[in-house]
């Protein structure tokens, strides 16, 4: 399977995930099926996010389907996926240093934990920056992983097909 196809599958899933985060507030004041899509989006993302109103960004007077931190993660993830081919190419399987994943993860953890224990209160800016950092770095580990996965699956199904044809 070509790197381009694998990349497009990855990009489509990421886009779909982000679209419903934006659709939820935009369709919130509509009727019928659109309103159902909005309600379902809010419920769907509630599994992954607290969705607290005063910790969320708003659009057209309604909060997004996820909080400011999650929104930063997902949008920077999408941005990173879009620019990925220009930085690493489509057939890359090499990973960056693990420190590049651990440092933003640690910053995000500290931002949340220090606030939870009342040591340093986090802000919209700190939540957005720490979220955006981890969201930006994750595709550099996930896309090579998915590239390997799709190629392994492709080889597996091809060999299965060859064996079946021989029989």
């Amino acid at each position: 399977m070509t790197g381009k196809r694998i990349y497009l599958i990855f990009l489509s899933i990421t886009l779909l995930w982000n679209v419903f985060i934006v659709f939820a507030p935009i369709l919130h004041n509509s009727f019928g099926i659109l309103k159902t899509i909005s309600d379902f989006s809010y419920t769907f993302y509630s599994v992954t996010c607290h969705q607290i109103d005063n910790r969320s960004f708003h659009i057209v007077g309604e909060k997004y389907a996820v909080c400011s931190r999650c929104l930063s993660i997902y949008w920077s993830f999408l941005f990173s996926v879009i620019i990925y081919p220009f930085i690493k190419g489509l057939n890359n399987t090499k990973l960056p240093s693990l420190w590049l994943l651990l440092i933003p993860g640690l910053l995000l953890f500290l931002d949340a934990v220090l606030d939870l224990f009342g040591i340093i209160n986090n802000t919209f800016i700190s939540r957005s920056i720490t979220g955006a950092l981890i969201g930006f770095i994750l595709p550099f580990y996930l896309i090579p992983g998915f590239y390997n996965l799709f190629n392994e699956l492709f080889i597996y199904f091809e060999s299965y097909k060859t064996v079946k044809d021989k029989k």
Partner: protein
């Protein structure tokens, strides 16, 4: 040629990690950070599977890792939904009422409050909310396998990078 190890053990471990993190109070806050708890479960499954592979000639493959992550996610999604359902049934208090009292400090849109009151009525009528149960099972069956798979892919790429060194 080495025999492929049984994948049941890593799936059980991964499911245990995912489910424990999701149902234990306070610890389940981890899932609010990009579903880290679910990803950790997928990662744990892959780690155990990699341990089983040590001493054999079999290489850790992404497809095996992803399969472990997805299966852990499906099992954990069902278990977490079942646990929440049982918790709703045995709980004497109406959890929606408790949530509503907690949310008093936050400014919630009136539409959300209308929905919450609807769920609260369902609790008072049946002892659980059919709407919440069905929607949460459906969401869990998408989100748990998805993030379990992401955790497993991360696990495989990281472990293979370490193995190459």
């Amino acid at each position: 040629m080495d025999k492929q190890p049984n994948r049941m053990v890593p799936i059980v471990y991964g499911t245990f990690v995912m489910t424990s993190i999701s149902i234990l109070p306070f610890i389940n806050f981890i899932n609010l950070f990009f579903c880290s708890g679910i990803m950790l479960g997928g990662l744990a499954g892959v780690y155990i599977y990699n341990k089983q592979l040590s001493g054999t000639q079999i290489k850790l493959m992404s497809k095996d890792g992803v399969m472990i992550g997805i299966l852990c996610g499906i099992l954990s999604g069902i278990l977490v939904s079942a646990f929440n359902f049982i918790f709703m049934l045995i709980s004497k208090n109406n959890p929606i009422d408790e949530t509503l009292s907690f949310l008093k400090d936050f400014s919630m849109p009136p539409e959300i409050m209308v929905q919450m009151n609807k769920f609260s009525d369902e609790f008072n009528k049946y002892g659980f909310s059919p709407t919440i149960s069905v929607v949460s099972l459906f969401s869990n069956l998408i989100i748990y396998p998805l993030f379990g798979m992401i955790g497993a892919v991360l696990g495989v790429t990281i472990i293979n990078k370490k193995n190459q060194k």
